[in-house]
Symmetry: C2
Subunit: 193 residues, 2 copies
DNA sequence: ACTAAAACGGAGAGCGTCTCCGCATGAGTA
DNA sequence: TACTCATGCGGAGACGCTCTCCGTTTTAGT
């Protein structure tokens, strides 16, 4: 009998690793906001005071970094869905969430390509975030279908795609109004016919 | 008195120039379809049998090339709008055009980022194509408003954005169905309330 | 045929991505 | 505290892409 089992150790992650991870995320957030999703990763690493190797170890792909940066936003949207579902009538809740979604995006225009990656990304990496957002809108849609407000054949994902489209096309000053109009159209068109 | 005026010459463009331009467009079309809007321009040049310099002289920016490649598609969409407007009742024409739009895009999935550039692009270069597409949908929307089928506050551009959104998010096998569902929703939501 | 304008195309500067691996550091242990 | 080795660091460098510059070639016009 071995006295020391191979120890399924899960050593505490090193503090410098954690520190670096945070630094990178912080800088990346700024960089993506300033320069869009194309920001130079080596630049981010440099500004964060780490080597490129470190950045790539933490986030193997650009997409992984993007997802990490926006993960908290995604989680906020998911939380909001639950909250709204508990507070408002089905249809109002859905409308409120959709408006929240576009507002949220309008606030940080740059998020759009990122979101696109998250929702559409083929990579397994996104499964998590995509799942969360999809779940969020599904909760609201299903509830509104059950209550009889919406057509039975409605798919939340379709709405999501339309929303992303709106946020994707860069646009002038009437951004917000345009977005609201579209949400109205989508909701109106989603009602039980 | 100068015997020879500076001759406002408009020399016939050299045949090799034209030939190269066509070659580049042809290859670029294939490349964008295969690899998306990120396809390597030097590669395109190489395959077209010209130097990078030649490609860049004809199309100073990647966007310029993209627009040139898809210009004919844009023109097709514009022509279709006119044709449909003359053949179908207002609402049917609009629906048909929207379906055509997504089908057209579904066929060459890769077109989406390009379209995005064309519609949203800040650069003056796009003015032409954007104008054409916007005009196309506006014709149909305005007609349907006039006939009383659609809400008066509808903006064709809003619909366009939604459509682009749909085409933008890469998606699996149910692409087409999803697109049709969304068109239905948009049309239903656009009716006079 | 001749010539000047037009177009070509490739070498190369510059930037970005991403990997590899020798070295530094800090978590566990006594 | 001292030791040790897994863990993490970071920079050098290979590679690919974009875009420019400029000497050479080609062609339209005469």
């Amino acid at each position: 009998m071995p006295r020391k089992q191979p120890k399924p150790v899960q050593r505490k992650p090193r503090t410098d690793a954690l520190r670096n991870r945070e630094r990178i995320l912080e800088i990346a957030k700024q960089a993506f906001t300033r320069f869009g999703a194309e920001a130079s990763l080596d630049d981010i690493a440099r500004q964060a005071g780490v080597g490129p190797g470190t950045l790539y170890r933490h986030f193997p792909t650009r997409d992984a970094l993007i997802e990490a940066v926006y993960r908290s936003e995604v989680e906020k949207m998911a939380a909001a869905a639950n909250k709204l579902a508990g507070e408002l009538p089905p249809l109002d809740a859905l409308r409120a969430w959709m408006l929240l979604f576009v507002d949220h995006i309008a606030a940080k225009q740059i998020i759009a390509p990122a979101l696109n990656s998250i929702v559409g990304g083929a990579s397994k990496l996104y499964e998590g975030s995509r799942g969360q957002i999809q779940e969020a809108i599904d909760i609201l849609v299903k509830r509104a279908i059950k209550s009889g407000d919406l057509r039975r054949d409605l798919d939340g994902f379709d709405l999501l795609r339309a929303l992303i489209g709106v946020s994707h096309v860069p646009v002038g000053p009437d951004w917000r109004q345009s977005a609201r109009r579209l949400v109205d159209i989508l909701i109106a068109g989603s009602r039980r016919g």
